[in-house]
Structures are given as C-alpha cells and as structure tokens.
C-alpha cells in the first residue's frame, strides 16, 4: 500500500467541545508526530471517543482546531479528509448483510465518485487489506454472520483500504482474543514503521505501555498528563485518575510497565496507606 509518510500528523489546539451545554472535552491540546503511535487512555466517559470523532471530522470543535497533515480539518472537503484519516470505531452494528469484500470496498468510497464501479486497483487495495488483517478467507461471508473479533478485523481492513495517512482506533481490540489482540497491534506497529500515524484509544493499559511511543492520559475531558508510557503510567497518576488501586510493576521480558488490577481485600490497605502519606490539609 502506498503511503506518503512525510509531514503527516494530527494536532489538536485547545480544543473544546460538548454535546449539550456542558463541554466534555476542555482545552485539549497535543500533537501526534508523523509516524507516531500515540495511545489515549482514561476512565469511562473521560472523552476518548469524543476526541476520535473530533479528529475524524464527525463533530466540529466549539473552540480550537484540529489539524490533519498541516490543514485545519474543518476546512478540508469531507472526501479529502477521509483520504487522510480512517477510523476503526468502538463498535459497528450492521443492519444489512454485506459481504466482507463489499464492506472492505466501502473503504474506497472517498477515492471513487458517484455510481462508479471499483476498478482493478481498488480491488488490489482491498485484497491487500484483507491479507494483512488475516481476513482474506472471510471475503465472501456476510458481515452480519461474523464473530465480534472477525468483524473488528474486517473493519480494520476497511480502514486500511482507505489508504489513510492517519489511522484512528477506538478500542479496536475489545472483542479480540489475546492472540488476535497482539496480532492487531503488531500489524499497527508494522504499518507505523511504513509511515502511518496511529492514534489508538485503549482500555488495556498493558497494551498501551507495550506498543505506544507516547501516551495521553485524559481525565474529565482534560489532558491529565502526556509523555512516554513510563512517564505517564505511574502509580500516582493512575490511582488519582482512575480512583482505584493498581499494582504497577515492570515486565522483565518487554521492559515495559505492567499495570495489574487488585481486588477489594488488597485495595483497602493500600488506600489507607496512601491516605496516610498525603499532606494533612489535603485530606
């Protein structure tokens, strides 16, 4: 797949947005360098999916701007934006039984006009996307009959068929088993090496630590902190933002952070100890 790597990235400048009167994303600013792999983490409702929608032009910021490959996303024609940015959404429900191949060919929409039929080059792109995501064997199946994990890989294939320069993923591995999960992220890393800019929302903090160059930690619609996984995913930051106790350790094999959950019996003593360490006036 061809891909122009240079000078492509995403940048948010003081973006504020809300669905109703209250903003749910407040003054968010960060830059994803071309060819970067950025993980967005944060608790439920902290605004991660909203950020993905802002970056893909589905919603427009109240204030601030989203820049894609140097241009203000709000000023780009929709099709042009879709040729630059592709999205793997958190969930896809499909009312009609398209075949997997048709579904992946939908990724060619921004490259084709009107009624046109897909040409050989479109089919070649779709086939490559199917191959890379390991879904070529599913090509004739109906998407409504796939398992959650198979469907998610097909949706990734569709996004790749868009030949984007920036790929946004909203918890792409929620339905994947552990093997397909790492395979998907391995593939994303491979694509990143070829010049693709990747921004992924993740709930699995260990995967985030393993694959991302840098992490943006969101809390209540704001950037709580950003930096390398080791800088961001500290015990102090995580317990404060997620409001629970975790066990942070080092993975000796990968040399990355491991963040493990704790049950109530083990959380309580830690919470008490943490409480005791805080300066008195904060209590």
């Amino acid at each position: 797949m061809k891909r122009a790597g240079q000078g492509v990235g995403v940048e948010l400048r003081d973006v504020t947005f809300g669905y109703r009167r209250e903003p749910v994303v407040r003054d968010v600013g960060f830059a994803v360098p071309p060819g970067g792999f950025v993980g967005v983490i944060g608790p439920n409702g902290s605004g991660k999916s909203t950020l993905i929608k802002l970056m893909s032009g589905v919603i427009r910021p109240w204030r601030g701007e989203v820049r894609v490959a140097g241009d203000d996303a709000a000023r780009l024609p929709r099709a042009e934006l879709a040729r630059r940015v592709a999205v793997v959404p958190q969930e896809t429900d499909l009312p009609f039984p398209y075949t997997v191949l048709e579904m992946v060919l939908f990724g060619r929409t921004p490259h084709l006009s009107g009624f046109a039929f897909e040409g050989d080059s479109d089919l070649a792109v779709a086939r490559a996307a199917l191959e890379r995501t390991g879904t070529l064997d599913l090509a004739e199946r109906a998407v409504t009959e796939l398992s959650g994990g198979e469907r998610q890989r097909v949706v990734l294939a569709r996004a790749l068929a868009q030949e984007p320069r920036v790929l946004l993923l909203d918890e792409p591995s929620a339905f994947l088993d552990i093997r397909h999960e790492v395979e998907m992220y391995d593939l994303l890393r491979e694509l990143q090496r070829e010049g693709l800019t990747v921004v992924s929302v993740l709930h699995d903090l260990n995967l985030a630590a393993l694959y991302c160059d840098s992490i943006v930690l969101l809390a209540e619609g704001r950037v709580f902190c950003e930096g390398t996984p080791a800088e961001v995913m500290t015990y102090a930051n995580l317990t404060e933002v997620y409001q629970t106790e975790v066990y942070v350790t080092m993975n000796e094999i990968t040399d990355t952070m491991n963040i493990l959950p704790l049950d109530a019996a083990h959380r309580e003593p830690l919470s008490r100890a943490r409480e005791a360490r805080r300066p008195p006036r904060e209590r």
Binding site: T92, P95, T99, E102, P110
Partner: protein, 347 residues
C-alpha cells in the same frame, strides 16, 4: 489461485453482474407486462392486437392499447416509485422496516391531496392538475415533521423515527376525516374516490408524467447509491468515509417525498410495496444500493402490475382496490420481519 479469484468476483458487485441482472429484470418486466395485459374479462389475441396497433376497428388492439397497456405501465411506474422509496428510507434509517406508508409519508401525501381537493373546489383549474402538488407538499411536510421528531441533536434515532411515523399516520388520518366532515356530500364523494385511488387509466400523458417523475427521482438517488451504502454503516461511519451525510439525507428525503406524492396522487394509498420489494430484492441480489435501487424499481413494477391484475380479476362485478392486495400480503410480511428482527436483538 484461480478458484480464489472467481470467489472474489462473486463477493462484490461487478459491472458485468450489474448489467446481467438489470437486463434479466427488464426482460422480466416485459414478460410480466405481457402476461398482465393478456388477462381480463375479454380474451384478446395478443399477436393480433399488437399487429393491429392504431387500427380503431381492431377491437383487440383497442382493448390492449386504450385500457390494459396504460394501466400496466402506470402500475410499473407506481410500483417502481414506492419500491425505490422504501429502499432509500431503509438505508437512511438503517432499518429494514422503514416504508413510506409506515413512516406516515403516504398519509401526509393523502392529506395534502385531500386538502387540495377541498380548497380547490370551484377553482378554474381541474383538480387532477393540482392534487399532485398538494400530495407532494403533504408528503414533504410529513417527512420533515417525522424527521424533526426522529432526530435528536442532528442525529437520527431510528426507533423514535418509526414511532413518529406511526403518530403522523394517525394524525393525518384524523385530519382527513375532519376535512371529510366539513366538506359537502359532493366533495366527500370526490375525496373518497380520490383516496381509494386506482391504477385504471386510459391517459398516456398521465403515464408519461409518472414515468418522468420516477426516472428523475431514480437518477437523483442512484447517483448517491454509494453514499447510501456508506450510510447503512451509520452516520458517523459514513462521515468518516467522506460522505456529506446531511446533504445526501436532505436530497433523499425530498426525492422520496416527490416519488410518494406522485404515486399517491395517481393511485391513492398503496401500502407495503416499499417494504416487501426491497427486502426480497436484497435477499436475492445483495445489499449494494447501486444494484438494489434500480432492481427494486423493476421488481416493484412487476409486483404491483401482478397485484393490480389480481385485484381487477378476482371479482367479475367489481374491482378490489390494489392496496387491499398489497396490504393483505404485506401486513403478515411486516409482522414476520418485525419478529425476526427483534429475535436478532437489533432494537
């Protein structure tokens, strides 16, 4: 691997398959039309009738060209319009239960037409020239109201949308009764006659006008067939694929109103064609709207010509309204779809 390549061909819509299917369906339409014009109280010799075209003394020809053919042609136009509207609405609402009748659009068109008949009494222009505009305006108004009620924060809520349609249907039904109540007896008769509708016509200009509207609407929506495909994935996904969602949606709603208005104006309320036809077509030919829209139009034409032929042949003394036939087949079908859909947990 050649075997893989063949399977790849079959798994998406190629230009070749598109042409083959459309050609087959056009042949089907012609065959069904020939069958339908052959059926009737008087047996006619088709070959002789075709041969005697234009000869006023050839009685078979007169029956064929003056009464049966325009009726079958009109049934094809109306069937095509309703089926295409159904297919478009189902894509927009992402719900195979959407249909102009169920969504209250036909009801709006009927009320628009009735109101025109009532107000235009004594107007210098004959009412049959005015009712199409009234029906179109009514359909558009109903569509807009239902659309407004069915969208929250600019996002379409399919379930609310369907409920809004049901309410709109009941509301326009009540309005029609109210107009009927204040109209005088002569007008009431005209209104009822118009509402019942019938595909019986001897007017080629009417057939031509209907064909024009269907063709116009068909071309306008077919140009957005690819966008409709993307829209079935949801509005966010469609936007992310580069589709200008609100523009496509707006155009489709106007075209649907036009098609429904035109068909209600010529033939009254005919329900369920827009439900059954796209559904069956989708089952047989797949969900790609580039094929689904024209194919639904052709299948809709066949379906309505057959339904109309059945309606006029069931009883030798009087005709059943064709809407009775479509509702009798479509009602159970709707219930079947509804049960199947809720068992899959889509709602």
């Amino acid at each position: 691997m050649p075997s893989r390549a063949i399977a790849f061909e079959a798994a998406h819509l190629t230009r070749r398959r598109f042409r083959a299917v459309i050609a087959a369906l056009v042949l089907g339409v012609v065959a069904v039309a020939l069958l339908c014009v052959a059926v009737g109280p008087v047996r006619i010799d088709l070959a002789a009738a075709l041969f005697g075209f234009g000869d006023a003394s050839a009685i078979d020809s007169v029956i064929l060209f003056r009464t049966r053919l325009p009726r079958v042609l009109l049934a094809n136009c109306v069937g095509a319009a309703l089926a295409m509207t159904g297919a478009v609405l189902q894509a927009l609402l992402r719900n195979p239960l959407a249909e102009p009748h169920i969504l209250g659009v036909s009801g709006g068109a009927a009320f628009g037409g009735v109101l025109t008949l009532f107000l235009a009494a004594g107007a210098p222009v004959p009412s049959y020239l005015l009712t199409p505009f009234g029906a179109f305006a009514g359909a558009l108004a109903a569509m807009l109201v239902v659309y407004r009620l069915g969208t929250v924060n600019g996002r379409l809520q399919p379930y609310t949308f369907l409920l809004a349609g049901v309410v709109c249907n009941a509301f326009t039904g009540a309005l029609i009764m109210a107009v009927n109540a204040v109209a005088d007896l002569f007008q009431t008769h005209g209104i009822l006659f118009w509402l019942m509708g019938s595909l019986a016509t001897t007017s080629y200009p009417l057939v031509l006008a209907s064909a024009f509207f269907v063709a116009l609407g068909g071309v306008l929506v077919a140009r957005h067939a690819r966008a409709l495909n993307a829209l079935t994935l949801g509005e966010d996904n469609a936007t992310q694929l580069g589709v200008d969602v609100s523009a496509v949606r707006r155009l489709c709603f106007v075209v649907c109103s036009l098609l429904v208005g035109a068909s209600v104006a010529v033939s009254g309320m005919i329900g369920f064609v827009g439900l059954i036809v796209p559904h069956v077509t989708r089952l047989l030919l797949g969900s790609d709207h580039r094929l689904l829209l024209p194919a639904s139009a052709l299948v809709g034409g066949m379906f309505l010509s057959v339904a109309d032929t059945v309606a006029r042949s069931l009883s030798s003394t009087s005709e059943l309204p064709v809407g009775v036939i479509t509702a009798l087949t479509g009602g159970p079908f709707f219930v079947y779809l509804l049960r199947r859909q809720s068992s899959r947990g889509l709602w």
